[in-house]
């Protein structure tokens, strides 16, 4: 599965994107957040106020942290959007 990062998330994590192999029990957005934080101290730090982090699954915005990620090819993580 591909993970992509934008804006200050990208900058603070120091990566644009990565391909990860998730364990079988990482089934939801919330599971993914926990897995990322456990994996890496920088992620744990950046995800400290994780409530504001926005998620898109296969390029669709997903607000439900309980949403399944089982069919996801690409998950994006980013701050609140400031377009326009």
């Amino acid at each position: 599965m591909k993970l992509v990062y934008f804006a200050w998330l990208r900058e603070r994590l120091g990566i644009n994107e990565e391909v990860v192999e998730l364990p079988k029990d990482v089934e939801t957005v919330a599971n993914l957040f926990d897995w990322l934080k456990a994996r890496d101290a920088v992620f744990a730090d950046v995800f400290e106020h994780e409530a504001i982090i926005q998620v898109a699954i296969n390029q669709k915005h997903e607000r439900d942290r309980g949403a399944s990620i089982s069919t996801a090819n690409e998950i994006a993580l980013f701050p609140p959007m400031t377009g326009g």
């Binding site: 934008f6 200050w8 669709k60 400031t82 377009g83």
Partner: protein, 153 residues
């Protein structure tokens, strides 16, 4: 079936040409509203905004919102062009054009698309100050979330 014209690009846009794109083949359009969003210099403090976007999702989200606007307001055409990359004060950032038989639909269509684009389209702005230093990422504004409430059916 009216299809929105949606683009993300680094270069500036031509408002006159974008209006023509919607009106050229439809002489029953009586009203065209354009919105252009420009980079402000924040009383001289800002040298540029840098816009980052999520290619693919950006176009898809704006298209989705634009299709809602066509349906809801009965538009005869709608376009949106959103720039990314570095943009200097006074330059254009975003353009929305809405066309309809009657004026209120055109106003509402453009206003609706802008309100949703502000908080739903995956773009992020970073400020560069006049000393050339990269500055802060612009925070999302509560006022932009509040603006959406006027469209609650």
């Amino acid at each position: 079936m009216i299809k929105p014209y949606i683009k993300t690009q680094t270069e500036d846009f031509d408002i006159e040409a974008e209006i023509k794109r919607l009106t050229a083949n439809n002489k029953n359009i009586g009203a065209v509203v354009t919105f252009s969003g420009l980079c402000r210099d924040e009383e001289g403090a800002l040298s540029a905004l840098e816009l980052e976007h999520y290619p693919g999702m950006a176009e898809a989200e704006i298209t989705r919102i634009a299709e809602q606007a066509i349906e809801r307001f009965g538009l005869d055409g709608i376009s949106a062009i959103h720039r990314y990359g570095k943009i200097a004060p006074g330059e254009n950032i975003v353009l929305v054009v809405a066309a309809s038989r009657h004026r209120q639909a055109a106003f509402d269509g453009a206003n609706f698309l802008m309100d949703f684009l502000k908080t739903r389209a995956p773009f992020w702005k970073k400020e560069h100050d006049i000393k050339g230093k990269e500055g802060n990422w612009v925070d999302a504004k509560d006022a932009d979330d509040d603006a959406l409430s006027k469209w609650d059916a």
